[in-house]
């Protein structure tokens, strides 16, 4: 049996959120296949945190801070707060559980800190969860993801995500439509109420 994942744009045009119900497929593997690139979620976390900090704390955090190592060598820190000099690195949650990767990513963060004047490891930006709408750039298929992130006081931010369907996806789309109607939709993600 083949099931087609519906396109969010089509659903929005139809006005019928129940189109999104898929009668609950019983077996399903590689549900993240519609992600153009796993780094898409990485960027969604970065964007969400930036917007949340700006909205809630009027705090301007920029993404991809350029880091000069001398000569033509340079790198990019994931998040940087110019006002405080704090730097953050964003990684999948699997890094939290894998010692060698955790050490490597902390060394990576340290290298950025060492090469930015006055930079320090970022403080906690809290934990949270949001719905992310991937518009599927390779195939014309959209997908709703529930994304979780947690940040630590050592400048590390970890994330994981679940593709969602059925009622929860319909609820997420309702939230997105409400955000659009209120003029506060930010393009790709909607905070989950309660976070």
């Amino acid at each position: 049996m083949l099931l087609y994942v519906p396109n969010i744009a089509t659903i929005m045009q139809s006005g019928n959120l129940y189109v999104y119900r898929l009668n609950n497929p019983v077996y399903y593997v590689d549900p993240s296949g519609s992600l153009v690139w796993p780094g898409e979620i990485h960027n969604a976390v970065s964007n969400h945190i930036q917007r949340k900090q700006l909205r809630n704390y009027r705090r301007w955090i920029t993404a991809n801070k350029i880091v000069h190592y001398g000569g033509i060598k340079y790198g990019f820190a994931n998040l940087y707060d110019k006002a405080t000099g704090e730097v953050w690195e964003i990684k999948p949650l699997s890094y939290y559980d894998k010692n060698t990767k955790r050490i490597a990513s902390e060394a990576q963060l340290q290298r950025y800190i060492d090469n930015i004047d006055g930079a320090i490891a970022g403080s906690s930006l809290g934990s949270g969860s949001f719905y992310y709408f991937s518009m599927g750039k390779v195939v014309p298929v959209s997908q709703v993801y529930k994304v979780y992130f947690e940040s630590h006081n050592n400048g590390m931010i970890y994330y994981w995500y679940d593709p969602i369907f059925n009622e929860e996806a319909a609820a997420a789309i309702t939230l997105m439509l409400a955000a659009m109607a209120a003029g506060v939709y930010n393009g790709s993600s909607v905070p989950i109420p309660g976070f």
Binding site: Y28, D30, P31, S32, G39, N64, K73, D97, K98, Q108
Partner: protein, 316 residues
């Protein structure tokens, strides 16, 4: 979009940084970048996007570093993988890893699948019987609580419910009030499953990590490894055990429980994912193939776990 590649390696004695420079030069036509070499440095400067400078800084023929890709075109990223494949023969050892597990998937995809699909054994049929019983009997309050705490929302809950039932037995949870995050964290740390210090702060991180603790505890108690004994009783230095545990943890959560944190954690998990894709294909329009036979999901599950060296023994 962003992804970091980590690399560490040692050149063959007969090879030099100049040889690496030469091999990369041949590959450069595929990449929009400048290439420079001086003394022990090989430097690749990208001309588009925001990718970092890729620097091989040889120290006594050894390199150890990372490169963050911030480009707009994922194809460029894979071209860098091809470049690493190109220069690999110049090295005695060259280890590559990345944030999203893409290297593992990329390399494994080029090789034949090592996992063989096989029918269920008689013991595994008992597992199937349990699932069929569960379909008749609704989840009790404890099961509902643990499933909700797990934050997992697989498309088919049969495997999750078995995991939850085993977990409840392992933790000796007899009522909803017995659910004790502290005891779960203590046990997870005691199991030393991929690092003893992975879970430290109960209240702050419990909700984020519980589903991984659930799977770690289940694998440790309910599986044997290569007939050597129950996983929780085995020393970590047994050949292949750590990578199998890692692949089982992330493979079960992503393939069967619909929870993701990037690509494959290691080559064994990449093998599992390739095996899954062989049977559950997504098409050019994003269509998803679903199979409506319970036995088939368990055949996939046990074929994969057997490949990793694990055999389900259940929980007393």
């Amino acid at each position: 979009m962003s992804c970091t590649i980590y690399y560490t390696g040692t050149l063959k004695e007969s090879k030099s940084p100049e040889d690496v420079f030469g091999a990369i030069s041949n590959h450069m036509q595929n990449i929009n970048a400048n290439l420079k070499q001086s003394a022990n440095l090989v430097v690749i400067n990208f001309l588009q996007g925001n990718s970092e400078t890729l620097v091989f800084d040889f120290d006594k023929n050894k390199i150890n570093g990372f490169w963050k890709w911030n480009g707009n075109d994922p194809e460029e990223f894979y071209k860098i993988f091809d470049m690493f494949i190109e220069i690999k023969p110049l090295f005695k050892s060259l280890k590559i890893d990345d944030d999203e597990g893409l290297w593992n998937e990329y390399v494994i995809q080029k090789q034949p699948c090592k996992i063989k699909l096989r029918p269920l054994s008689s013991d595994e049929m008992k597992f199937l019987d349990r699932i069929k019983e569960n379909e008749i009997n609704p989840a009790n309050d404890i099961e509902k609580l643990v499933m909700a705490k797990s934050n997992l929302s697989p498309f088919y809950k049969s495997l999750l419910r078995i995991i939850v039932q085993d977990f409840i037995k392992i933790m000796k949870i007899e009522s909803v009030d017995d659910f004790n995050p502290h005891a779960i964290i203590d046990l997870t740390n005691e199991l030393n499953f991929m690092g003893a210090d992975s879970v430290k702060e109960e209240s702050k991180y419990f909700d984020f990590h519980f589903h991984y603790m659930l799977i770690k505890i289940w694998i440790s108690y309910a599986f044997e490894y290569k007939k050597l004994g129950v996983v929780k009783e085995l020393a970590e230095d047994i050949r292949g055990l750590i990578t199998s545990k890692e692949a089982a943890l992330w493979g079960i959560t992503s393939i069967f429980l619909n929870s993701h944190s990037g690509g494959a954690s290691n080559s064994k998990e990449a093998e599992m994912r390739k095996f899954a894709k062989k049977y559950y294909k997504t098409g050019s329009l994003g269509e998803v193939m679903v199979i409506d036979k319970l036995e088939r999901e368990l055949e996939f599950f046990f074929s994969m776990m057997n490949y990793l060296g694990f055999e389900y023994i259940g929980v007393e």
